[in-house]
């Protein structure tokens, strides 16, 4: 399985399964099942360096919500890794939800990842990638037209 990272070197910590990590939550890396309560990481996000979220199948989208909660609500800034069903046609969505590293053995995944932020040059929703949604761009355009 190859590891791809958007942010230079991926973290090398061993990520503990959530149940084990709970017993020693000072450890900086944790791996969650998509049914694990991500909220429990809230008090620890400053210390965590790696959170691994799992897609048991590429079509099971629960980890997208976990990722957004970690990034958007809890302010987690460390590495956020996707494992399991990680394919190039979903990677743009993963990036938008805040993932920045990926385990995938799909041929061409690296090239697709490099292009994934530009496949769509506009987005309709605010998410966790800091991109301005169309509604904001329109707002700015209207203001510019007024001045």
């Amino acid at each position: 399985m190859k590891l791809f990272s958007e942010t230079g070197l991926p973290a090398t910590y061993v990520a503990l399964p959530f149940a084990d990590w709970r017993t020693r939550s000072d450890w900086p890396a944790v791996a969650l099942a998509n049914t694990d309560p991500v909220e429990e990481l809230a008090a620890h996000v400053d210390r965590l360096r790696l959170v691994v979220l799992h897609f048991p199948k590429f079509s099971d989208g629960r980890a997208y919500s976990q990722a957004r909660l970690l990034r958007g609500r809890m302010g987690y800034r460390g590495e956020l890794r996707a494992t399991g069903g990680v394919l190039q046609d979903q990677v743009a969505f993963m990036l938008r939800c805040g993932f920045d590293s990926f385990e995938s053995d799909q041929k061409g995944f690296g090239e697709a990842l490099a292009r994934a932020r530009t496949v769509f040059s506009v987005v309709y929703q605010p998410a966790e990638d800091g991109r301005a949604p169309v509604s904001l761009l329109r707002h700015e355009r209207r203001n510019a037209a007024l001045t």
Binding site: Q90, Y124, Q125
Partner: protein, 557 residues
């Protein structure tokens, strides 16, 4: 003067749709080259509207909130000719389906759609589907606010939503802006009903967990009154709860209605409100300026005053009985004096419900250009609507629709049948639907008789997935397969009207295909015998119950 009276794409919308076409072109190329497995490709094509049926791929084109221009309809005709067999099928979700698309052609067909600011995005797959709305929106006399403003806002928010593209199951949202619900909001995953509270503010009643399919349920009120500007934040909270906790272990238990049913609406409400408390102050709040910018695009056409009583119309009414009936059933009040809303019936006697040929589409587009501000609507009852017709022009519109075969005076009547594609097209179906609808509509073709029978909705599904909405038909017909024989279950008393929404009750053993007409005939005859003056079929059924219908039916078949 604007060229349309509904949302117009700007360069952002066009860019996104164009980029989506190119992305899909590449995905199709990779599929054809064997780089993608069918399992990997399937959600990608579904999210682009490409569904695999019994004989071929089907392309399901979104007609957001059912509104389209004559130019767009002409393009649909064009596409059906170039990439299909010269006809299309309008669906109960305000989509158009082309039944014979080749995979290799699909990207070009989508590119052609994009030329007229249309797409097939999210018309299939486990994502937020094309948002539907009242097909009389912006014209209806009873409207509080145009629901399409909100449907467009939801369309944009839900398009390529990164968090909600791999939901447990499909997710359908419908919006109505009138007290007379024409969008069936109680039988959607989320139904939104605009209403005005005692303080005079307009907001949404948010209804969750309705749906038909194999486990039909009436939606429950999640929030009685939601301020309009909070809509997206509230939807996002609801979808997040569903995405996290909706069941994924069983395809048939994965819709939000099952989650709501299993945890109870109180718990669902508590979870959504808790999530919402965290989301509400975020970037999803809608500024009044953003709302206004979209609302402006739906500003109604400036309709010059026209006479409300027209001598020629009154004269033709006396002279032509069918025209008089057509005025009663296919013409609805418009909010502007001197105008009316005309429904073109896509249910001529003996024809497959909801089908239109390319020639017919072009013909209706011409009529819209001449008589209806170049605008059309697709109704969830699978008809086309001309929203802004002057009363003076009704005779001419009637004649023009008649030349296309779309002037049948049967809207809301027994032959205005909703039917799914059934076993003629669909890989899921157990039985055929279209031939049953055709036989019924031929049998009841007499217009005077139909009008005597009055409002009676027949809805036919070819399997328990209920695409033909049989659960909410006054008479519902469900095709089942028993040891290789197609049988039809009859249910009575379903209703989709707001405040009266009800699921029908199966009346007894299923009947064979050749007995369906007789069975319906027996039900109708019972009604005609016992109805009170002016009482609709479904009200008679409620008053007297199933027994009299049942007795007569099983004596007959």
């Amino acid at each position: 003067m604007p060229d349309t009276y509904f949302y117009r794409y700007d360069d952002y919308d066009r860019t996104l749709v164009g980029e989506r076409v190119e992305q899909f072109r590449d995905q199709v190329r990779r599929r054809l080259a064997g780089e993608l497995t069918e399992e990997q490709f399937k959600p990608l094509r579904l999210h682009n509207g490409l569904y695999l049926q019994l004989h071929a791929y089907m392309l399901r084109i979104a007609i957001p909130y059912g509104t389209l221009s004559s130019r767009q309809l002409r393009k649909l005709a064009d596409i059906s000719r170039k990439y299909d067999r010269g006809y299309g099928h309008f669906t109960t979700r305000q989509n158009l389906q082309l039944n014979w698309i080749r995979l290799e052609d699909a990207p070009d067909a989508l590119a052609a759609l994009a030329e007229v600011d249309m797409h097939a995005l999210q018309t299939s797959g486990n994502c937020i589907r094309n948002v539907t709305a009242d097909h009389f929106a912006g014209a209806a006399a009873d409207e509080i606010e145009d629901p399409r403003i909100w449907a467009e806002i939801v369309r944009q928010w839900s398009t390529l939503h990164p968090e909600f593209t791999y939901l447990p199951r499909k997710f359908k949202i419908a919006i109505t802006g009138s007290p007379n619900d024409r969008a069936a909001v109680r039988v959607h995953d989320i139904g939104l009903r605009l209403w005005r509270n005692d303080e005079g503010e307009v907001g949404f009643e948010v209804i969750v967990g309705g749906g038909l399919g194999r486990t039909p349920m009436i939606g429950k009120t999640l929030r009685a009154f939601l301020p309009r500007n909070e809509l997206l934040a509230y939807l996002e909270a609801t979808l997040r709860v569903y995405n996290r906790y909706g069941r994924r272990d069983n395809l048939y238990k994965a819709r939000i209605k099952i989650l709501v049913h299993e945890v109870g609406v109180e718990r669902m409400r508590a979870d959504v409100e808790a999530e919402y408390a965290e989301t509400r102050d975020g970037l999803l709040g809608l500024s009044s300026e953003t709302i206004e910018a979209i609302a402006q695009q739906f500003a109604p056409p400036d309709l010059p005053s026209r006479p409300t009583v027209v001598g020629a119309v009154e004269a033709l009414k006396l002279e032509d009985r069918d025209f008089a009936l057509w005025l009663k059933s296919n013409v609805a009040p418009h909010r502007a004096a001197g105008y009316a809303i005309v429904t073109a019936s896509l249910k001529p006697a003996g024809a497959p419900p909801g089908d239109a040929s390319a020639v017919q589409m072009e013909g209706v587009a011409d009529i819209a250009d001449t008589y209806s501000q170049s605008e059309l609507r697709v109704s969830h009852e699978q008809n086309l609507t001309l929203p802004h017709v002057a009363i003076e022009d009704l005779p001419a519109v009637y004649a023009a629709l008649g030349r296309l075969g779309f002037a049948e005076a049967n809207v809301g009547k027994i032959t205005d049948i909703i039917a799914c594609p059934g076993l003629d097209y669909c890989a899921l179906a157990n039985a055929r639907s279209i031939p049953v609808a055709q036989r019924l509509s031929s049998h009841f073709a007499n217009l005077a008789r139909q009008h005597d029978i009055g409002d009676l909705k027949i809805k036919i599904s070819g399997c328990i997935n209920a695409c033909g909405h049989h659960h909410v038909g006054h008479i519902g017909i469900l095709g089942v397969d028993k040891n290789g024989v197609e049988l039809y279950q009859i249910s009575l008393g379903g209703d989709v009207d707001f405040g009266r929404t009800a699921l029908g009750t199966i009346i007894g053993p299923a009947v064979t295909a050749d007995k369906v007409v007789e069975a319906v005939d027996a039900v109708v005859a019972t009604y005609l015998d016992v109805r009170n003056d002016g009482e609709r079929f479904v009200d008679t059924y409620r008053r007297i119950g199933a027994q009299p219908f049942k007795e007569r039916l099983y004596e007959t078949v």
